[in-house]
Structures are given as structure tokens and as C-alpha cells.
Symmetry: C2
DNA sequence: AACGAATTAGACCACCAGTCTAGACCGGTG
DNA sequence: CACCGGTCTAGACTGGTGGTCTAATTCGTT
């Protein structure tokens, strides 16, 4: 995950490398991105690149993590889901998710990278690297889930890991679907509401049927 | 999609190529699979391979399609979702989904390939090839959805394309989660029931809240 | 100034997907 | 039989890839 040496570089040089890598990865995804092109665009030599990063995966992971952190910095930390009842839980979640999507829509490169992440993450060779990034995202999901269960907004009759996996899958699907739609900032809140409504249906405690 | 010439080969030679390709793709996914290895394992020359297939994508698509067809042949066609009420719709869906998963569990290579498909399918360069396979899978989902709406099992206040995308995402997530679990055929029905229950929550018509 | 560590340059390696040409094979025809 | 044209095969070759390695350079410290 980026040799410490890298951080000692003058910021503008770090920036040049990061920017080149971001553009390449955003444009081509992980697999089809060319490290040689990044090297050329950044104006450094191959030796330097491998001096600062362990390899392509390492660079990708670092760029993704950096951009990811930038996103959360921009949007701010997740709200405190513990305060209130089930109803406020779901509306807080909806608000926060909408903010994330809005921020994502505003920086297409970041969006393209994060989108590629989920595909790349399925490659087993990737998963050790992935762990580091996932540990930045999954915990707040775990906490939100636990909070949701405490306030009675989320069912507890299924394993938490299953709920998380399915929630991520739904989120990814939503993202995919939004991409395929004509861009229309006006309608985003409605779409987000639709998705959260589906999540609510899936994850809310079962009401007894009679 | 496999030059017609390929079909004129003696079956055992077709089989050798297909088997080699299946093993390679199942083991390494599309991107990291090596066509050279397939060629070597199949005992043919590069010239022959490119004589029978347009390239790596073409081979992959053909193998995936073939295996996919085999799966549906094994499980049988989807039931008629139109007969009955919402309750029977959901239980028929659960049955069918469980059968698919059981068949998939019995042939790990096929499972590995289809798993890789969803990742590969996101690559834009792949989507023209993908169309052909997707036309075999999405229509029955569309029909099931339409049938579900007719019998009142599925909401119609959201775009069908969104429902389909989210359903696929949930299914994929379920699959991912199952893979991470210790293999236990006994508990599969319960897991499937859990997933279908979540889908039902997400896709059932909203009950008026009061 | 001199030494050793940090850094850079880029040649080199094995491998990749895909192209291309030379020839082997084979059925039909004169 | 000889020849011919299409079908098929072999594998050298191309331009690219990610990654390694060594020699040279720069730089901080004594």
C-alpha cells in the first residue's frame, strides 16, 4: 500500500503520479489500465514507480483508498443512527445515501474507479489488498446495521454477514441502474427513495402474517 | 460466436477444446485466463484456435453459453408463474431458485464461470458479445416479473428495469455469500428461503402504513 | 572531499492476445 | 494419374503487458 517513501516526495510529484493513475484507472478499469501509460503520463521512470509502489495492484489500491477517503471527507461522517426510532433510522439512511450519490455524481473519475473496484475485488489475488479498503467502508455499514437492529428497524433473524452482502449488492445494483439512466439530478432523490424503500422491505423485521 | 467450422469438428475434438477452455476460464476468470494455455491443453495450434474462434472473448462467450444451456437443460424450464396467487408465486420462485443453486453446486466449474460472467459483463467491450447470452437469461426473469405483477406478488410502482437489476444484484450477493459459507447442503433451503423472503420484502407491493 | 545510502533510468525477461504466411491435406475434375 | 482450389494447421512473429535487475546518479552526512 504505497511504500512510505512515496509520502516523502514533494506533493506536486505525488499529485502528478496520483492524477495520472486516477485517469488511467478511471478510463480503463484495473485490468485494462496500462502501468506503462501511467508511468509515461506521470513523467517518471519504471524504476521509480516500482520504487514507490509494490506494483499495479498496490497503486490501484492506494489511489482507490485516497479517492475514497476524499469522498467521505466531502460528505462528512455518517450520522448517528442510534438516535430515534425505526422511522428516523430509515430516513437518516436515505439522506446519507443520497448525499453520497450526489458527491459521487459530481466526480465522475472517482465514480468510475469505485465502480471498477467491486469487479476487481472479486479476483482472489486482489482480496488481501482489498481488505484494507474494505475495512474503511464495511465497519460503518456494520455499525449502521447494528444500530438499525437496536432501534428495531432491521431484522435480526438472518446472519449479519448475509444482510451486509445483500445490502452491498443492492447498492451496487442501484448504482449500475443509475448509470444506465439519463442523467437527471432532479429525479435522484426519488430513485434513492425507491431503493431505500426496497431495502426497508428486505431488511425490516418481518411483520407477523395473518 | 464460434465459427460454424467448429461445429463440423469431430465431437471429441470439440470436447477437448471446450473442456480445456472451461477449466482455464473457471480457474482464472476471463481476464487472467491464458489462451495459450488453453491451446496447449487442448493440443491444437494457435492457427487452429483462431480458425475456429474469433478470439478470446468469442471462446469465452461460447463456453459460457454452452454451459449455461446445460444448466437449464438439467434443471428444466422455469415453472408457470402465472398460475395461482401471490403466495404460490413466491413459493414457486423459491423452489426454482433452490433447484438452480443445487445444480450449480453440483458443477463447480460451471458455477465459477457464471460467477465470472457478471464481472466480465461490466466491461463495455464485452457487451455486444454479452447480449447473446443475456437474451437467454433476462427474458425469463422479465416474464417472471411480469407474471408476478399480474398475480399481485410484485409492486409496479418502480421501473421494471430497476427491479430486475436489483433482483440480479441480490441474487449475485446471495451467491457470493453462499460461497463464503462452509458447504452444507442441509442448510441451503433455509438460506434460499431467507433470500426469497428478502426479495419478497423488497418487491412485494407496499402495504399501506397506518 | 569522500563515502554510503537513497533514488532513478531503462534494458531486459517471460508472457500475453492476436496476425500472418507457408505449407499440409483432401475432394473433385480433366 | 496429375493438378487445382479450398480447408485446415503449424508456429514464427508483432507490439504490447507487468515485473525484475543492475548500473548510474544524486544527495546527506561525516
Amino acid at each position: 500500500m504505497a511504500r512510505p517513501r512515496f509520502l516523502k516526495l514533494p506533493p506536486h510529484q505525488q499529485q502528478a503520479i496520483l492524477q495520472a493513475a486516477l485517469e488511467e484507472f478511471a478510463a480503463h478499469g484495473f485490468h485494462d489500465a496500462s502501468l506503462n501509460r501511467v508511468i509515461e503520463a506521470a513523467g517518471i521512470s519504471k524504476g521509480s514507480m516500482y520504487y514507490y509502489f509494490d506494483g499495479k495492484e498496490d497503486l490501484y489500491a492506494y489511489v482507490a483508498q485516497t479517492e475514497f477517503a476524499g469522498l467521505f471527507e466531502q460528505v462528512g461522517p455518517p450520522p448517528d443512527f442510534d438516535a430515534g426510532d425505526a422511522e428516523t433510522f430509515w430516513s437518516a439512511l436515505e439522506d446519507y445515501y443520497r448525499q453520497l450519490l450526489q458527491a459521487l455524481a459530481a466526480s465522475p473519475q472517482l465514480a468510475a474507479m469505485l465502480r471498477g473496484w467491486s469487479a476487481a475485488a472479486k479476483n482472489p489475488a486482489f482480496q488481501e489488498v482489498q481488505g484494507e479498503l474494505e475495512q474503511a467502508s464495511v465497519p460503518w455499514i456494520e455499525q449502521a446495521l447494528a444500530a438499525g437492529q437496536r432501534v428495531g428497524a432491521i431484522r435480526d433473524d438472518l446472519p449479519a454477514s448475509l444482510l451486509i452482502t445483500v445490502a452491498l449488492g443492492m447498492g451496487e445494483a442501484m448504482d449500475l441502474w443509475l448509470m444506465s439512466q439519463p442523467v437527471d439530478p432532479e429525479s435522484l432523490p426519488a430513485h434513492v427513495h425507491g431503493l431505500i424503500d426496497m431495502m426497508r422491505g428486505a431488511f425490516a423485521p418481518r411483520r407477523p402474517v395473518h
